[in-house]
Every structure is written in C-alpha cells, then in structure tokens.
Symmetry: C2
Subunit: 333 residues, 2 copies
C-alpha cells in the first residue's frame, strides 16, 4: 500500500460554530532544502492550549493562520536530512505540526530523544511539554510545603496529573478535582492523593470546603470558570494561585469570562502567577531527568490516552473539552 501523506489544517477559528479542522491528503513533500529534515511522525500531541493558538487573540505565540497545518508537538523519525544536526534514523520532538510527515528546519525548536530511554509516547506527555508544565508550575510557582493544602483542577488531565503527583511528593495535603467517579478513584488509588472531588457530583464550593478544612495554600488551575471562583473563596492569606490554563474559557477567547471572585486576590493578599513552558525552556533537561527518575521509582505515573490514526485528530481534540480523556491525549500514527 502506498504511503499516505495526511495533514490537519485549520479551517475555522474557535467559536465559529463550524468545524475546526480540515483533513487533507497531500502529495509527497518536495525535495528538502538546506538545514531541512523530513520526519515520519509517530506521535502527535493534543493539548487544550491549542485553542489559544487557533484563536487570533494576542497570546504568547502568533496565531495559526487559517488553512495552515495545525501547530502541534510531535515525535518523528528522521527519514531524510539536509542538516548536520540530525541524521536519518534519529528521533526528535518539537513543533512538527499535525501531519503524517513533516518538513522541518532543523535549527528550530527541536530536540533529539532516545527511543531506548523511554517509550516514545512519553515524550508527548510526562517527558514532554505537559509533564514539564506540571512539574515547573508546581515546583517553581506553587512551592508547596509540608502541612500545606494543595488543590489541582483537571487533576486527571495531562498537566494536572503531573502537578498533583509532584505536589504529593512535597508532603502537602493534595486534593484533586476531576469529573466522574472513575477519575476520582484514580486520583486516590493510583496517585495516592489525600482527597478527590468529583465536580460533576454536586456544588464545588461545598466539596472544596469539606476537602480543605484548613483552606487552600496552593491552587493549580487548569480550568478557570466556576472552579476557579470557588477556589478563590477558600484561599488562605498569602496563598499562591498557579495559573496554567483555563480550559472552560477556551471555546471562544473573545467571550471569555473572568473570575468574578478575583477581589479575593486583594483581600487575602494572594499571588496569581501565570506561566507557559517558554519560561522554563532552559531547564527542560533538569525537569526531564527528575520526572524520568520519579517515574522509574514509581513515584509519578504517566497516564496516556492514545488514539490511533491522524484522521481521528478532530474528534480526539473535541474529547479534550468534554472531559473524555484521562491523562495525556496522544495520536499514534
């Protein structure tokens, strides 16, 4: 069977009410130019933050242009190279785009990975951007201490699952918020958290009060909306909010709703700090080594939700926003 060249391209901006993506069958890429490499993709990462890249609202990266290949992290194997940096047969990760084959400038944001050190899919999750995001957000901004109470939203998600497990190693009381009994059981049984809140089960305010009798010292937020508002009301004086994302608001950034209770930041003298992985790019080797070690020791688990076939990218993307995934959503090609 002939090789298929597939690409996922941006069709509409979020909030259009229509399809987000086109799936395109392409011809074989043209011959490489100097410094370019050709990658055969093995894994493509799906992340809620992609909605930000799809929006034309000012962000930390330029928006993806309509009709362009969707920006995505991926793991690929070098099958052709006109670069001194990468040889055929090597594996790399970075911004490869959502496509079956990628022609990439080797001088860009790419790093070589060792396929024998860990399963390749881990470089999309626990040893990838989402793992580092959970790790640095919790260790550098949250900085939980023994005896403190940490709350993590979307705790069964790609970033949250790392953030809550890292917090758990600090000796703090860790409470995870997730949707559904299955995910909550996982937080307790697999991750060893102190409590889990099923936000679908009842009022989040009451559940947070009950799970955090001493208030909240660190809140790691991935969701925004009602859960952020509820957490704000339980924050202790001088507590920290690690602002990682706001998945409840990603549908249309132009219609986003801010946290109504944000005045608690004043009255409780809170610090709310946002970040992206760009802030920590120099420390990736350190974070990667630490997470890999904890995973080998069984202290941190990498959960992956793998979907086969690039043609399933649009449906898998939607799953990210309806709570259908547990752990890191990854497309396997």
């Amino acid at each position: 069977m002939a090789e298929k060249y597939l690409q996922i391209r941006l069709k509409n901006r979020p909030g259009s009410g229509s399809d987000d993506f086109w799936t395109i069958t392409n011809d074989k890429p043209c011959a490489l130019e100097d410094h370019q490499i050709l990658l055969k993709m093995h894994y493509i990462s799906l992340d809620p933050g992609m909605k930000g890249w799809m929006s034309d609202k000012k962000s930390y990266m330029p928006p993806v242009n309509l009709t362009d290949v969707m920006r995505a992290f991926g793991v690929g194997e070098v099958i052709d190279s006109r670069s001194d940096q990468f040889k055929i047969g090597q594996f790399v990760t970075g911004f490869t785009g959502a496509q079956s084959h990628a022609v990439v400038d080797a001088r860009g944001f790419l790093r070589p990975i060792d396929p024998d050190a860990a399963p390749l899919s881990h470089y999309m999750g626990g040893l990838g951007m989402t793992g580092f995001t959970g790790y640095f957000g919790m260790t550098d901004i949250g900085r939980p201490k023994t005896g403190e109470t940490v709350v993590v939203s979307a705790a069964a998600g790609a970033v949250g699952s790392i953030a809550c497990q890292v917090a758990n190693l600090s000796g703090a009381r860790v409470v995870g918020i997730a949707g559904g009994e299955k995910k909550c059981n996982l937080l307790i049984e697999e991750f060893g958290l102190d409590a889990a809140i099923d936000y679908k089960k009842g009022p989040i305010d009451e559940a947070l009060k009950e799970a955090c009798p001493d208030g909240i010292d660190v809140y790691f937020d991935n969701v925004g909306g009602d859960i952020l508002d509820a957490a704000l009301m339980q924050m202790n004086r001088l507590a920290r909010i690690v602002l990682c994302g706001g998945v409840s608001q990603y549908d249309d950034w132009h219609k986003a709703v801010g946290p109504a209770n944000y005045m608690q930041i004043v009255t409780q003298s809170l610090t709310m700090r946002g970040f992206t992985m760009m802030d920590y790019s120099a420390q990736i080797p350190e974070g990667s080594a630490q997470l890999a070690q904890w995973q080998r020791e069984g202290k941190v688990k990498f959960l992956e939700h793998i979907v086969d076939g690039l043609e399933n990218f649009p449906a898998a993307f939607d799953t990210l926003f309806n709570g259908g995934n547990t752990g890191k959503m990854i497309i396997r090609l």
Copy 2:
C-alpha cells in the same frame, strides 16, 4: 451651643438599592471603662474599600454588622482617658469609626501622632493608610525600574496619586489614568507624569496603546472592569499587576465581574499580586518617614478633598464612586 454626638451607622449592605447609612444623634457616651479613651474626632477618612467592609462577602476583615457604627479611620484628640498609653490632649489615629466622638480601647489598632509634624488631615491621606497603600504597593510589589512603563488607574485618587508619584521617582515612564481633563492636567502638571489618559474621552484600549508604545511593565490597579481588561492586553511578558482594589466592582460584590482577559496572565507569564495594608503594618514607620520626607522635599504631593461636617458623610461616600473627588476624601468635623 451644646456638643452634638453624631454617628454614621450601617443601614443596608451594598447593592440593596436603598440608603447605605443612618445618621444618628446620640447621647453623651457613658463613663469610660479601664483601658478606654474618649476621642473627639477631627477627621474621618472615606475610602472606596469601605464597600468591602459593608458587604457580607468573605474579606480580610469581618463585615460591619447592620446598625453598627460604620468602620472608618479617623484622627481624634484624647479628651478623656482610663489608659496608661494615652493622655488627655494627645492625638491618635486608627479605627475610630465614623462618629463625632469615639470610645476606643487603647490597646487596639491606634497610633499616636504629632500634630506639629504635619497637618492632622495628612494622617488620613499621604501619611495614612492610603498613602502607605500606594507606597508599599508600588515599592514592594510593582518595583518599577528605569526604562520600564508603569500605568496607574484612578491616578488622581487617594492611593493612585501616591502610587504614581512614587513610581515617577523610580525613573520609569509613568502613565496615569483618570476621569476628566482637570484630573489629567493635574497628573501632568502637578505630579509630572509622562502621560495621562482620560478614560471618559474615548476607547481606553486605543489610548493605552498610544500612551504605552513599549507595552506595560507594571500596572497598579484600583478599578478593575474595562480598564483592567484593557491593561491586560498591553502587558509585557513577565510584567507585574499590583492589585490594590476594584472600585468599579464594589457596588455589589455578589455580582462582581472578573477580568475577561485574565488568560493573558498565562500567555504573558504575568504575576498579579494583591495586598492590603495589613501586610505592611510592621513597616508603617518606614513608609511614613519616607513619604513625609518626599513631601517636604516637594517630590510627592498630598492631595486632599475635604468635606466639612459628619452629616455629609453619606453624600461624600457616594462621590468616591462617581469620580467626584480628586485626592483623598476626608470629612472634617
């Protein structure tokens, strides 16, 4: 004429649609108990943050009970004392309540002041809580550096006027936001700011872009609402937001609207830190000495908006929320 004993008491919580306060004529206070002093009040402070004390929403202080004397800072003269700490004839400032005469426990939050060192009214403004709030918020949280751009909202108000003048001494470019041409002229001519924006004149987004061609590094926010949202869109990467208040949201804290653009905190890696003067109570002597020195040297000006008569407290309070005051609103008795 016999001495009048007046009190302003809380009638309704904010958002009731009815009057906030009762003005009550009282009998002479009873004889003092041990540790109590009797103050004849000279000045009462009016502050937007009082709306927070009037609300029953969780805050940094317990809400004022309905029918109680309204909590307020004041300057009073000791006219009777059963305390070893304060003698008749001394002047003190602290939480005295909005009343013509106050019976206060001398062991509470009171500090003696020197009526010869500065006009008494200054202890309600530049040398009072609002002065310290502007000073510590800017020096400890904002920390502007030469070459950076600082924006201060409500810059002609009690806190903002101190914050923007303190920023101006750092060598940063300072832009003040205020309502009306008169206040904007004051920001440029009296305070020497680099630019002033009249938020009533046109779209705040455009005006901010124009006044801050290099983006914003420090935003000191007193107002929330549209102005905070507009500032969020102009913040530079790793910039700081000093969250001091949100006067546009004080009318009813139960219906407050959060900053819709708060996701910029993530995408630009911003730090938003809130505070109240409680955080700096140990450093008041330092802040007070510095502000007094700057004022003597003409580097910082204390603007006061003085209204005569406690019976004008309710009307003066409303003025705080319709932009009618320039500088610190103070009742003189």
